[in-house]
Amino acid sequence: MGKRVGMEVSIAAAEAVKQCNVDVISAYPITPQTHIVEKLSELVANGELDAEFFCVESEHSALSVCVGAAAAGARAFTCTSSQGLALMSEITFIASGLRLPMLMILANRTLSAPLSIWNDHSDAMMIRDCGWIQFFVENGQEVYDHVFISYRLGEDPSVLFPVIINMDGFILSHVIEPIELIEQEKIDQFLPPYQPLYRLHPDRPITMGAYALPSIFMETKKAQEVALRSSIPKILETWKAFGEMTGRYYSPVETYKAEDAETLLVTMGSFGETASVAVDRMRKEGRAVGLVKIRLWRPFPFEAFKRATLHAKQLVVIDRAISVGACGPVASEIKAALYGEPVRPSIYNFVAGISGRDVAPSDFIKMVDKAEVEIEEGNREGFELYGVRE
């Protein structure tokens, strides 16, 4: 077993990146991502990590540097938040279209306006369709673990996709948690150096990033879509291998006291831990409430999600972002996922905790209360922003 150390989650993330022996790091500072890059630059400056580190002039360039580096066969890393991601967004689509593996840690933060440095998932939702593998993690250990998982997965010749680890800004990035570190020898075995199928090199010239006319574009998009969808078995396999190495097993959709539950809370990210406390309290009162946590956001695990939820009478989906003029993006995904089922639970959607507004276990209980009453009264597809002062 590895050492268990209390450390800030951002520092743990940087440690993991170091342990992956990345080749090129390129980033631009933005709260709350800064501690990760600061730590990494320190590790490079001290010679603890042999990598090319660039604090570039913008996030657009940060990701572009990673794209160039990955195309030349390097293991690349970047991290950002909010406005930084917005500036990068153009290149996120290109990185996946070019099938270039790399890792981005996204310390999730609200998109302006109004300007806010606090946490929600509006940044991640903006690039929902960018074609990367996207995880939402729940605690510091998951952040640390998923750095290794992401590189091994993304670089697999049958996958070749960039990966985003979403971790809630401040709520995760700035807290100190006990992290079980993995011995370097184990990591070296789990994650050998990146061997690209193709790389930019004069010995074997290739053209990357050619343009497509309508007569061929659909075919290239379909190839990408099929590849991303079919990466699910590889994702499961990678988690399994990781579990065998560490004893920590992950799954696309995690459940808590869900089997016999009539009402299921559905969350993504750090909400999961708080919601589980709420579930415990409600269980004590004899209420059949459980929790489903989505860890794999793209490719969306439709089958696993259905398996986890179809038996319930109602889902209370808590979104941490809003698709203004529609509803919470997770809720709309779930509605689409379950639409084809002959018998499906009612779905009540709350948007809560945006811009870092605190959501306590008691809030989850209130949301379940409210949803149960509303559904009982026939409002089967309700949507509201929770906790707004009127």
């Binding site: 390129s26 090319e52 913008s58 572009s64 794209v67 690349a76 290109i94 070019l98 290739i206």
Partner: protein, 310 residues
């Protein structure tokens, strides 16, 4: 010096083509010629990052490619950053022994729009960081790929689709941005201007850029018959006139020291250059006079710099 500016010495260049024939540029395209010469100068040990623009579009319709050397296109404004990543990857992978050690030139290429406008931030960042790469701007003085819209590199008076000559305005009302001077202001080891109408000069500058460690910037005036409304068979002549009139002087800035590649005791009148191009058709004699004065003035400044050395 005259030797390097000799048009016939071009026979001494390699017969090998790294930018394959059969690409889809217009007849008489100065950019395509510039690219071809740049690649001849560098040979096969090169990796190219190319911005969105004419040269990308004419060369890479899936599933075809005109590139016989490794080449990547990512987006419009980030070529210098992509090249930075490539250069960094080569460096670290060679250091870690994961690819064999050998000299591979990282070359970034973009048009004037991709350089002087939307890509200037990424370029400035890459120059400042000091990556060992060459950045070539093929300047055809407008956004040609999207249909001849003005850029900050479009010369005063030129009519484009977004700076049209009309009753109130006479085409572009601003003066051409001096990109080479901006690059030189980064105190990088090497900056040069070139034009494919002077092929040997161009090739030598590219080779020099490849040899000098650190960033190098080469600004290449590239005649575009489609956008300039000029006859395709006049492209080489127009490039020569641009230089001979002082509109586009050829020079180098080596570690801050200015050096004119070819000096003319007496410049040809700009009118000789202007009258061959439809984009200037509407210009009045007064406007041409204004261009003449400004050209002369700027040429003198350059000459003084050369005398001073910086």
């Amino acid at each position: 010096m005259t030797e390097t500016l000799n048009v016939f010495a071009v026979r001494t260049l390699t017969q090998k083509e790294y930018f394959a024939p059969g690409h889809r540029s217009c007849q008489g395209c100065g950019e395509a010629l510039a690219v071809r010469l740049v690649l001849k100068a560098l040979g096969r040990n090169v990796i190219i990052a190319n911005a969105t623009g004419c040269m990308e579009i004419v060369s890479s319709p899936l599933p075809f490619t005109s590139w016989r050397v490794p080449w990547i296109h990512v987006a419009f404004e980030n070529t210098a950053a992509v090249a930075s990543g490539i250069e960094a990857a080569l460096k670290v992978l060679m250091r870690k022994g994961r690819i064999p050690k050998k000299k591979i030139v990282t070359l970034a290429m973009a048009g004037d729009g991709g350089t002087a406008d939307i890509g200037i931030q990424a370029l400035s960042g890459a120059l400042e960081r000091g990556h060992d790469f060459i950045y070539v701007c093929t300047d055809n003085e407008a956004y040609m790929n999207t249909g001849i819209q003005r850029s900050s590199s479009t010369p005063f008076g030129a009519s484009t689709t977004t700076s049209p000559a009309g009753r109130m305005k006479m085409g572009q009302i601003t003066w051409k941005k001096n990109m080479a001077a901006i690059a030189a202001a980064h105190n990088i080891p090497y900056v040069a201007t070139a034009c494919p109408s002077y092929p040997i000069d161009l090739v030598q500058k590219v080779r020099k850029a490849a040899e000098i460690p650190g960033p190098a910037y080469i600004h290449i005036l590239s005649v575009c018959p489609t956008g300039w409304r000029s006859a395709p068979e006049l492209s080489i002549k127009l490039g020569r006139l641009a230089v001979e009139t002082g509109i586009f002087p050829l020079y180098e800035v080596e570690y801050g020291r200015y050096h004119l590649s070819i000096d003319f005791p007496k410049l040809k009148p700009v009118k000789e250059y202007i009258k061959l191009q439809g984009r200037f058709r509407h210009l009045t004699d007064e406007m041409i006079e204004e261009i003449q004065d400004r050209t002369q003035r700027e040429y003198e400044i350059l000459r003084e710099r050369m005398k001073r050395g910086f």
